[in-house]
């Protein structure tokens, strides 16, 4: 289904974390299929596959952006409100008129970038850590949304809705777009200097500084990319809903889910190591989980319980592994001697 370019396994001994997440995905799919079939539905039916892939599109876009930010050691909790903001701006600029589409997209992404820039500047210049900075900026945007929008607004022309609603065979167009953008970000991280510097700053600000990097720039860039990806997710939702909505971002709980998907994909929460494709694996696991729970008509309240437990367990597995390395010495992360 998804194109997985597993990076060349460097050391057989230490399984690359991206490979681990895809093994986990297969396991989840197998268990899911068994569960679903016991209830008499076919897990691999066209509708079910499309449901899973659609579920991956929006969360995928947000999680890819979140990956870039987490790689620098920062974090973005403002994504839900950026999603809603961008869906509203796009829908209101287009006002149902097909030739406004380009302007609507550009305007929405521009505002998303402004929020990303604000996040980046607060983190790097005011030295506020990512969690509080993006929480603050998110609340600022939320206040603006609640005050100025009394419900869905604007409208999206049919041509733009085409993206959200149709697909080629089982694969919805939105998923293809998501994977394409994930590839763009993957190549950006692999092929541009800023991409390399994002990894470097996340690994160690000290070493980066000693190597002459301006350490603020990659972090600001990462925050802008994350917000722009959230903006793109907002556009996708606007296309699916046909209108902009001030609550569509927070309805999906994208902040917590995107962070969990990134960590599930093997990216270190402290930054420095991680892969876009690992995150996509994490997103797929959550999408399959949701689809299975819906198929077996799981009580909606229990769905939240399962999600909460899976998120903490996923992070525990990874940090638990990371912790082993650290436990040998109290003081420092790596063994200095």
């Amino acid at each position: 289904m998804t194109t997985t370019t597993t990076t060349r396994p460097r050391r057989r001994v230490r399984l690359d974390s991206t490979v681990i997440v895809y093994i986990a995905l297969v396991v989840v799919i197998v268990i899911g299929a068994i569960l679903v079939n016991t209830v008499g539905r076919n897990f691999f039916s066209l509708g079910s596959i499309r449901d899973i892939l659609t579920g991956m599109s929006v969360l995928g876009l947000v999680a890819v952006g979140q990956t870039v930010v987490i790689l620098t050691g920062s974090l973005d909790l403002s994504v839900p409100y950026v999603i809603s903001l961008s869906s509203l701006i796009a829908a209101e600029t287009m006002r149902g008129n097909p030739n406004n589409i380009a302007q609507g997209v550009l305007f929405a992404l521009a505002f998303a970038a402004v929020v990303g820039l604000a996040n980046g500047l607060v983190v790097t210049k005011l030295k506020v850590n990512g969690f509080i900075a993006t929480l603050g900026v998110g609340l600022i945007v939320k206040g603006y949304l609640d005050t100025n929008y009394q419900g869905s607004a604007g409208s999206v022309p049919a041509e733009f809705q085409f993206i959200g609603a149709t697909g080629i065979g089982p694969v919805p167009i939105s998923t293809i777009i998501m994977l394409a953008l994930a590839t763009v970000v993957f190549l950006f991280l692999k092929k541009t200097r800023t991409g390399h510097h994002i990894y470097a700053v996340g690994g160690s600000v000290e070493v980066s500084r000693l190597s002459g990097l301006r350490t603020a720039r990659p972090v600001i860039f990462a925050h802008v990319i994350c917000s722009v990806m959230a903006g793109l997710a907002g556009l996708l939702l606007a296309s699916r809903l046909g209108v902009g909505s001030p609550t569509v971002g927070s309805q999906g709980g994208y902040d917590l889910l995107s962070i969990a998907a990134v960590v599930l994909g093997g990216t270190l929460l402290g930054g420095g190591r991680g892969s876009i494709w690992g995150t996509i694996g994490g997103v797929a696991i959550f999408a399959v989980l949701d689809s299975v729970m819906s198929a077996i008509q799981f009580n909606p309240f229990l769905k939240d319980v399962v999600r909460g437990v899976v998120i903490v367990a996923a992070v525990a597995i990874y940090t638990g592994r990371g912790l082993e390395r650290r436990r040998t010495r109290f003081a420092t992360k790596e063994v200095k001697r």
Binding site: V184, P246, Q251
Partner: protein, 400 residues
């Protein structure tokens, strides 16, 4: 591939320039709203619908006596003979959520009604997908049912009006019957749209009641749960208009249905001056509002709440001049009964407007006896008195 990276970089570049231009002040205080696009204030007030519902309020509903869930007002029937076919049918239900007591009550009633229809062979099974208050999820649910549900009928309780419209239209396009209830959609392709008279009627009933019991210039505090839900917005739009016309000084607050928030708002208002009336767009936290008056040691206001047992009991015990407008919780039964009618080829109203008669002081005691032992979060017009499992199932709140 390289071109797309250039374009992506270009977009980001443009954005950065736009941002830098716009971001002159200290970044942390930049609210990214330097020059937002013109946001025309959505005006929820629609005079035509207002008049329509105002009229419907007066009409005595037709249909079987004592079964309000089967009654209808000003109905124009549609012929469903095309769908008539024997045998038990599979219903696919895309539910917005069961995240508040009103919806939980309706959901329990619907499942009891389902048992009845399964025994009578009208429905084989009902597959439900819960969107947990998310538009995007509900669209995916509807698309899943269309693709894979092999449903004989689509039953949809939309999460929000405009966002669900495209998906509902796709459901209609399958040629299978579609029933929409509770919140509407901006298309008339469903076989029937089941809903009580509507928000404007609620607004008129409640405003007229308050105006009747208050003097011009008296203060009314309007407590509203949250912005943007059409059902709630229309209630306030109608009431606001009547209050202005009657010279009542009405001030509205958003409470998020949090009783603590409600009590704070009322206490602040009482600190500013006396409050003669309290209007609510939904009953959540009505008891907390009254308790705020008790704590402040002022006499009770004239108040309109909702048919929530908690409010009705408090109303009964305090004896305030009150009114309990209803949003006819029994519509959750009507939705399934309509399925039976459609496959039986019986005609059903195109727009099935259910009665929405507020509970007045005189009917209060009778309503409370029917709902004896029901939990506070229960809604009096659940209409399940004649369904199996009454009253235990509703008392124990076993949520399927």
């Amino acid at each position: 591939m390289r071109r797309s990276i250039n374009t992506a970089a270009a977009i980001v570049g443009i954005a950065a320039v736009v941002a830098l231009a716009g971001c002159t002040t200290d970044p942390s205080v930049t609210t990214p709203t330097n020059d937002p696009p013109p946001t025309e204030e959505i005006n929820w007030f629609d005079q035509a619908v207002f008049d329509k519902q105002d009229a419907e309020r007066g009409v005595t509903p037709e249909g079987p006596e004592g079964q309000p869930w089967l009654q209808y007002i000003n109905a124009e029937f549609t012929d469903t003979s095309a769908f008539a076919s024997p045998g038990a049918k599979k219903v696919c239900f895309a539910n917005a959520s069961i995240s508040n007591p009103w919806r939980v009550t309706g959901w329990i009633t619907m499942n009891q009604q389902l048992k009845v229809l399964q025994d009578s062979g009208a429905i084989s099974e009902m597959e439900t997908r819960d969107a947990q208050d998310s538009d995007d999820t509900q669209i995916a649910d509807i698309d899943f049912f269309i693709e894979d549900g092999n449903c004989d009928l689509f039953l949809i309780s939309p999460n929000s009006t405009a966002a669900m419209t495209p998906a509902v239209e796709r459901a209609c396009a399958t040629g299978k019957p579609v029933i929409v209830f509770d919140r509407g959609v901006l298309t008339d392709c469903p076989v029937t749209f089941i809903h009580p008279i509507g928000g404007f009627a609620w607004g008129i009933d409640t405003a007229e009641f308050l105006i009747g019991n208050l003097e011009p210039g008296d203060k009314v505090v309007a407590l509203r749960i949250l912005p943007g839900v059409d059902v709630l917005e229309t209630r306030w739009a109608a009431a606001k208009k009547l209050f202005e016309e009657a010279g009542i000084e009405a001030v509205d607050y958003f409470t998020g249905a949090d009783p603590a928030e409600i009590k704070k708002i009322i206490s602040d208002e009482l600190a500013k001056g006396d409050v003669k009336g309290v209007w609510m767009d939904a009953g959540d936290g009505g008891v907390a509002a009254l308790e705020a008056f008790e704590d402040a040691g002022v006499d009770y206001p004239v108040m309109t709440g909702e048919d929530q047992i908690a409010f009705l009991k408090k109303w009964q015990s305090t004896g305030i001049t009150g009114l309990a407008p209803v949003y006819s919780n029994f519509q959750w039964r009507t939705a399934l009964l309509a399925v039976q009618k459609i496959f039986a080829g019986e005609e059903v109203p195109k727009e099935w407007i259910l009665p929405q008669k507020p509970i007045t002081a005189s009917e209060l005691d009778a309503v409370l006896t029917v709902n004896e032992g029901m939990p506070d979060g229960h809604y009096a017009t659940f209409g399940g008195e004649d369904l199996p499992g009454y009253p235990e199932v509703w008392q124990q709140r076993i949520v399927p």
